[in-house]
């Protein structure tokens, strides 16, 4: 990290320009997409992929940028989805009105989880958050007590093993009729774009630097006056807001939510996305989503080997490319750049020598 410091001004603006160019291209692609894709199936899978990318970007904010190894990501997602669904189901709210309260509920839930877990560090956080997520799953699945009677059917408070369905939708069916899926695609794409913009702003802001400092060198960061517990609780809450919001939109898009989203394989898929794409890189989750959803579709042909393949992909990509595809891509660019600039390699060398002095700033 330190050796880029002396040339930070020029490289920072260059990386910001690259990010801007990538985002503009992505926005253009996102607008063009519904005109190019005819198949409902493919568009549906793309919407699903956008959900994965949103959740993965928030897990990346937690783990990649802040070093919090939380395995409660899907639990927070499910909490947002369930809260939205239950507000609509029990109180007859409109879905749009229930989305933000649902997300705020997820934030509250994440703060409780954070209060319990963030006094710990490293793998202890992972173990405890995993246990909390599994407890939530078990309590929902084994819920058999009648809460309300719907017609002649008994409904559990948490929806039990079936979950909730038919509590309303995003209103696109009434508005766009046959083209409702395009409408939902547009909504979810905007959600994803907003999430990425906020994540970018957080990562580049002073508080984002504090998160990263806590990850890179906790002792030094704390000595410089960063409150570890407060800062980590804050990033936990921020990421929970977008994760919970995505959960609410997920429930509204599929008009259903059940305990299946809490399953281990869903969590693993999110982790795999971030690991394959590149932990701690801004575009990593998006790249990972594209690669893994494509791989998943290809493996669908071989049906039963899907989970096996996914597990091996996770393990292999950790071993073979610890910085993910984005990191590997960066290595290639660096290598090309160094090859081109090999005659006058002086600036690079001097920047490394200079690095220790301004690092404290």
């Amino acid at each position: 990290m330190t050796e880029t410091r002396p040339m930070s001004r020029s490289s920072m603006s260059r990386s910001a320009r690259t990010d801007l160019a990538i985002s503009l291209m992505l926005i253009a692609a996102a607008i063009a997409l519904p005109f190019l894709v005819d198949s409902r199936y493919i568009l549906g899978q793309i919407v699903l992929a956008l959900f994965y990318a949103t959740i993965a970007s928030q897990w990346n904010l937690l783990f990649g940028f802040s070093g919090i190894f939380s395995l409660a990501q899907m639990a927070i997602f499910a909490f947002g989805g369930y809260a939205t669904a239950m507000l609509c189901f029990y109180f007859g709210w409109n879905v749009w009105a229930a989305l933000v309260p649902g997300a705020l509920g997820a934030v509250l839930f994440s703060l409780v989880v954070g209060l319990a877990c963030l006094r710990l560090t490293g793998v202890y956080v992972a173990l405890l958050t995993l246990a909390i997520a599994q407890t939530m799953y078990l309590l929902i699945v084994t819920d058999t007590e009648c809460f309300v009677m719907v017609g002649s059917v008994c409904r559990q408070f948490t929806g039990g093993a079936v979950g909730f369905a038919r509590f309303g939708d995003l209103g696109t069916r009434a508005l766009l009729r046959a083209q409702w899926l395009v409408g939902n695609y547009a909504i979810i794409a905007v959600l994803f774009a907003l999430t990425m913009v906020f994540t970018y702003a957080i990562v580049k802001s002073p508080i984002g630097l504090a998160f990263r400092a806590l990850k890179d060198n906790p002792g030094y960061a704390v000595a410089r006056g960063v409150n570890r517990f407060q800062a980590q609780l804050l990033v936990f809450g921020i990421s929970a807001f977008f994760t919970g919001l995505a959960g609410g939109f997920y429930a509204a898009h599929f008009q259903a939510i059940g305990p299946g989203v809490l399953s281990m394989s869903q969590l693993m898929f999110i982790i795999a996305i971030v690991v394959v794409g590149g932990v701690g890189t801004f575009w990593g989750p998006l790249v990972g989503t594209v690669v893994l959803v494509l791989a998943d579709e290809l493996m669908r042909e071989s049906g039963e080997f899907r989970t096996l393949g996914l597990g091996l992909i996770i393990a292999l990509s950790v071993v073979l490319m610890p910085k993910g595809l984005v990191g590997r891509f960066g290595d290639v660019i660096d290598w090309l750049g160094r090859r081109r600039a090999s005659p006058d390699s002086k600036p690079a060398a001097s920047s490394i020598v200079q690095s220790p002095t301004p690092a404290g700033k």
């Binding site: 006094r119 989970t307 096996l308 996914l310 091996l312 992909i313 996770i314």
Partner: protein
């Protein structure tokens, strides 16, 4: 009343023994290498299925089935070392903890799924089981539970003897205390890692046979004891073997009391609440002491 209490105690001690075996396998690897093995659950399952195959399909005696489970677990540990751990150790040390956890999650999923594809999802009966019970006056002690407790006690004695009395054990403890110093004193640290993973794999194999003999064989068999072993490790402080055993027994007894009083559904959640309460009171675990780490 006394027979209900007795039944709860027997169930609690049996599951406590099983959890202790699972926890020690995890804790051993963590303590000596700083690695959390998320594939441990799948290795448990592997042991159970290998014993099943050796005894039922090949028709060999139960003892050989046991040996098969031990060998399979140790082999799985060795493969894990050569395929994953050795490569990750070459990278930056600060990323090892998280990377190895994610990689073993992947291996665990793949292994569990491979077992599912080989044997199918329907539950199978583990042939390592004894019917009947020992009657001591008013007490009824099922032989199966006694067998499990006996096997676990024997394994604990074997492990503590291996760690405390052998050359290998001394090397493992030295590596756990200070990897660099051990290496400078001529301990082949890489071989120690291989040995620890094989030992922990063998423990997982036995544990899998025992767990499946209480219930049935199914691919997600290892997940439930593993999840409980995780939070027991957290309570005891990872890497603390006697603490792990004490936490396993205590929490298992608590679990069986809660399950009797409130229903099976609340067993695990109540454990979790106790664990969180303990951690708020003592963040480094009941038996762990606050670690001073150079950043």
């Amino acid at each position: 009343m006394t027979d209900v209490l007795m039944a709860i105690l027997v169930a609690g001690f049996t599951s406590g023994a099983l959890y202790a075996l699972a926890t020690v396998g995890l804790s051993l690897v963590w303590g000596s290498m700083g690695m959390l093995n998320m594939a441990h659950a799948a290795m448990l399952t592997l042991g159970g299925y290998v014993a099943f195959t050796v005894i039922t399909s090949l028709g060999l005696p139960v003892a050989i089935g046991f040996a098969g489970a031990i060998v399979a677990g140790a082999l799985a540990g060795a493969i894990l070392y050569f395929a994953i751990v050795r490569n990750l150790l070459q990278n930056d040390k600060s990323t090892f903890e998280a990377n190895v956890m994610i990689a073993t999650v992947g291996i665990g999923i793949a292994l569990e799924n491979a077992i599912l594809l080989t044997y199918g999802g329907q539950p199978l009966k583990q042939p390592v089981s004894i019917a009947g019970a020992l009657r001591l006056g008013p007490l009824t002690l099922p032989w199966q539970n006694l067998l499990i407790i006996a096997v676990v006690v024997v394994m604990m004695v074997v492990v503590s003897a291996a760690l405390g009395r052998t050359r290998m054990g001394r090397a493992i403890r030295a590596t756990a205390q200070n990897r660099d110093a051990a290496q400078l004193m001529g301990v082949a640290v890489n071989r120690v890692y291989l040995q620890v993973l094989m030992l922990s794999g063998a423990l997982a194999g036995i544990c899998g046979v025992m767990v499946s003999s209480m219930t049935q064989l199914s691919p997600p068999l290892g997940n439930d004891p593993m999840l409980k072993a995780f939070i027991m490790c957290v309570v005891a402080g990872l890497g603390n073997l006697p603490g792990a055993i004490a936490a396993a027994l205590g929490l298992a007894l608590l679990e069986s009391f809660v399950q009797y009083a409130l229903g099976a559904r609340w067993g695990f959640p109540s454990l979790l609440f106790v664990v969180i309460a303990v951690l708020i009171w003592r963040p480094s675990g009941l038996f762990g002491h606050a670690e001073i780490r150079r950043m």
